[in-house]
Symmetry: C2
Subunit: 684 residues, 2 copies
Amino acid sequence: MIGGRRPIKGRKPADRRVRVERPHSAFFRYTGPGQMVAKPAASVALTPAGRFLDRTRAILFGRPLASEEEIGERLSKRKALAIFSSDAISSSAYATEEILRVLLVAGASALLFSVEVSIAIAILLAVVSVSYRQVCQAYPSGGGAYVVARTNLAPIMGLIAAAALLIDYVMTVAVSTAAAIAQIQSVIPEAYDYRIVIAFISISLITVANLRGLRESGNIFAVPTYLFVGLALSIIAIGAINILGGTVVQAVPQPDAVPFPDPPEALGILLLLKAFAGGSVALTGVEAIANGVPAFKRPESKNAANTMTAMAVLLAILFIGLTVFAVNYGIRPTEPGGASVVALAAEAAFGEGSGLFVLFAASTALILFLAANTSFNAFPRLAAILAEDGYMPRQFSFRGDRLAYSWGIVLLAAIAFLLLWAFGGDTQALIPLYSVGVFVCFTVSQVGMVRHWLTQRSAGWRWRMTVNATGAVLTAVVLGIVVFEKFEAGAYLIVIIVPILVGMMVFVHRQYDRSRKELAVRPELVFEALHREERVVVPIPGVTRAVIQAINVARSIDDDVRAVYITEVPESAVQVRADFERQIPGIPLVVVESPYRALVGPLLAYLDVLDAAWPPDQEPPITFVVIPEYVARHWWERILYNQAAKRLRSVLLGRPLTVVVNVPYRREDPALFDQAIGGKRGPD
Amino acid sequence: MIGGRRPIKGRKPADRRVRVERPHSAFFRYTGPGQMVAKPAASVALTPAGRFLDRTRAILFGRPLASEEEIGERLSKRKALAIFSSDAISSSAYATEEILRVLLVAGASALLFSVEVSIAIAILLAVVSVSYRQVCQAYPSGGGAYVVARTNLAPIMGLIAAAALLIDYVMTVAVSTAAAIAQIQSVIPEAYDYRIVIAFISISLITVANLRGLRESGNIFAVPTYLFVGLALSIIAIGAINILGGTVVQAVPQPDAVPFPDPPEALGILLLLKAFAGGSVALTGVEAIANGVPAFKRPESKNAANTMTAMAVLLAILFIGLTVFAVNYGIRPTEPGGASVVALAAEAAFGEGSGLFVLFAASTALILFLAANTSFNAFPRLAAILAEDGYMPRQFSFRGDRLAYSWGIVLLAAIAFLLLWAFGGDTQALIPLYSVGVFVCFTVSQVGMVRHWLTQRSAGWRWRMTVNATGAVLTAVVLGIVVFEKFEAGAYLIVIIVPILVGMMVFVHRQYDRSRKELAVRPELVFEALHREERVVVPIPGVTRAVIQAINVARSIDDDVRAVYITEVPESAVQVRADFERQIPGIPLVVVESPYRALVGPLLAYLDVLDAAWPPDQEPPITFVVIPEYVARHWWERILYNQAAKRLRSVLLGRPLTVVVNVPYRREDPALFDQAIGGKRGPD
């Protein structure tokens, strides 16, 4: 034996004396026999690198929160309005434009009808938001369309709604980010060349903010939302004063305004429906609050429902007001690359190049970035609910330290950025898919609510059901219009993507279900200690400290230990055998020459040979394969070391009655391993 | 115990009776006590999926080859000329054009000087190839510039040469593939839109062909090389007949021909040097044969040297001939997207749109694809040599079944494709870097050869040294010219990339060196069996078959076994404890509530608590952490299962005195695990 007992390295924070006398106290609260509760110290990292990572994470994402603290993370109505409504409210920045673009094919006079179309959409918004108020109240645990449809209709309807929602969230991030960058362009045209970089930076910032947890999101995001709302209301007020006072100065048509066709198309019902379908993009994001009820302060349902109403009223005012303003000021949409309708409205109201105009453009860009943030709250929640129900991989319900669903956040950011990148920052093509996804959710959840009231028959169920039925019929009709009008423009994709997503979720569910059944143990069975023969095999790459350590671990498992050296160079075997037999006496060494240079195949074959040599009248033994590993201190070292160990382990995991034992050799603690190794001087 | 002994599942091919009586015979040849040689059957896959993969691999890549069979894979001179020369010879498809493009700024009459420039380059080629003949003879084991420089100059010079070579190989693949696609475009203009797809498909095909091994490469690749050479010689012959007979019909200037500047620049020495620098791209690929000597049939050195001469003669004839042809027929380079000079020459010789013209364009495209193939032979060989010397990660010297260096092949294909993709299929910007890399190798290896002769002083060393010294001086001068003329056009990149690559290689070498020293065991030490206390901890996710199996494995390691259940839901702990204590009697269960939802932290803290509770006057024990795993049958199942096990394992590998034991639960063999588990009915 070399040296005496050495102190245990490792966890720094605990005082050694205390640890020895009351070892639980530093990390755990002892709550009963074999029962304890972890303290925050129990999650402190062990290594210097790990502690550094923890500190960095704390700076970026804040300190870890316990479950009980979650209530403190809940949102006030004011913050919730900023967080959950940015998606819906920001759509007023482009919904008017969508209507105008459709109508202008019928000439200048047709543009006047945009007010009627926007009022129709606002009525739809009123019905949908009243319907969703009821969802908030009936489903305080959130989940929105998925939960409503799964509970009231059928699991498959829930999955369809979930797929549509997941698509919706991804689209929100991609479309809103692209629209925000377009706003920046309208002030700084050079931004166009850096749009992918801007997209990357802004999505990264939103991701980090969300990994920090909810409350911070509220603080970061409340200011620009209210700034946008305030400035947009100012534009509308200025417009109203001028319109009522008859002092409107018609906007000079932009040189890049989309020209009216000559002759214009007839203004028929189809064109109006098409304008309606285009403008209905204003409703995207309305469902976010219903999905996020548990994020509200108590009473969650009431607060969420009231926030929903506030949001719908605000959105309706902004949308109709901006449309009226645009029509009265003669603002027309521009060719791609030109200024947006809201930017032109702000220019008309505040004056070209004025400070307020720039501030409005900035706040529009910001609220669009924040609209993307809505999805960063909703997507991971839905993914976690789906994961808990077994429809998505379990890691989506893991929570990070800050109570945020890190996997979902990172996945959403990645997909959205890849979409933006693939489309070169131009996501116009995705907008029809976006609208269709949203209206699928609306319809499914309202139908589900109708069924809910029919089943529950709670107080006032009749009129509540009527509200939801009206919502269901209206949104179904709009869904039909949008699909019909936009089918070739991209709405057809929903028919491809939703079934794929639903199929994947059903598939994952079946897998988990099957594995749960396979792993289930009949409750009446009792398992007692078994005697089972064991055998230990140590594949070695030569005689090294890591190998000696592995051999010693092998010896402590069982006496039946043998080492195997596989080589393609027969000459090297002679030296290895000589060293091994001199330095590690008592352990038989088998040398396998592998002329095909394979490592895994010959080892597996050797294990089979050992099994076959076992007396046929006895139980076959458990084979422990002890793999010496060299522990990487840094991530890049993983490329340099243990590639062979990795291959061996993954293959051996598939072998019957075989257990893989990884014995790490840590460079940091050679002293500890001197002990584990033990050694004495040989005869010479 | 449930049931009796069941047959061992697993390896199918061997007959069970034979296995029991002579267990070694199916897979091994027994060559002495504890000494055996693996037969091919030892590498047969175990699982149906593995066997399917093996069959697929055999179809795609051919059957595995033993080391002794490698000699049968050696190349005849004819095949080697096709494989190793396609790079060099194919450069005649664009070298003339590079000269003409430079000279035309001095007006039409300056183009006539391209013949003189090409003759000068051919003289350089003669010197370089004679120099390289000597490399072939002096270094029969291959390795080219790297081996020569490392052996004769200094390791760092070897690494510089190696870095330049690696760059050269990647460039060859990218540039040649892009040039080949440009040839396809000259016949089928629509190909331009699919150039990335074509690049992907062609690189993939070359990759698969190379993973199949060398000989097949020869068969696949000999035909188009010789077709290109034959057709190019025909063009030259037709040209010679017409020029000598005075029947040359001047080519009609293409509408997209590059116009002569007005007024033209003066034709000075600088312009001629620039033309020379441009045309010297003809020499790229000449070094391939010297690097690949061991791939030749015996006598390797002589065959390689003679192949080198044949290649140089062919290349010189093609290069000068095509230049003379182009000058006499008044062929001028075209604007980007237009036809290449060789395509125009073929059109002039064979007639526009004629079958021979299309055949020539096709064979030019093919030989350019095959030029890329040259690198697929050379890059993995060099990477393997570097890996064996410890300058690259070890896996680059792993060999696949077909004796090909799979890692290097796949890495080369990946980098080259990414380059092509990043540059949108247009690799013109990379060409200066390409030339510089090649001439760095030339110069370093010729200087190394001078030193070699000075040291060896073998027969005829004086004139041999003179040859190499001439080569060294000439290539150094050309290197200077190329760097000077093309510095801003991309040659400066070499100053950035080569040091980075050399730094990485030095770094890898230091790592391996350090770890080797750290793992080294003093030869006089003898290690005997040690008694060391053990403790087994089994983290469990509940009571499942996988857990019971893990507990049984834990029991067979030591009697000191305890299970740990970590949960964020205290309620679930009650049920788990009840089940566990009823069904697995005798094993203490510790429940750790983790309000922070962390899994890894609390487990590590618990292990520390256990260590701290150990009597301080005793050796600390080895802690075995037994992790139950659910073995994935398919790759996609890895996403669904064992994420937590993976996290635990990677963290525990860094913990002192801790050994990780993976106990896989395989769905395929529940019967075997029934035995391993054992079970009896409980009291009720």
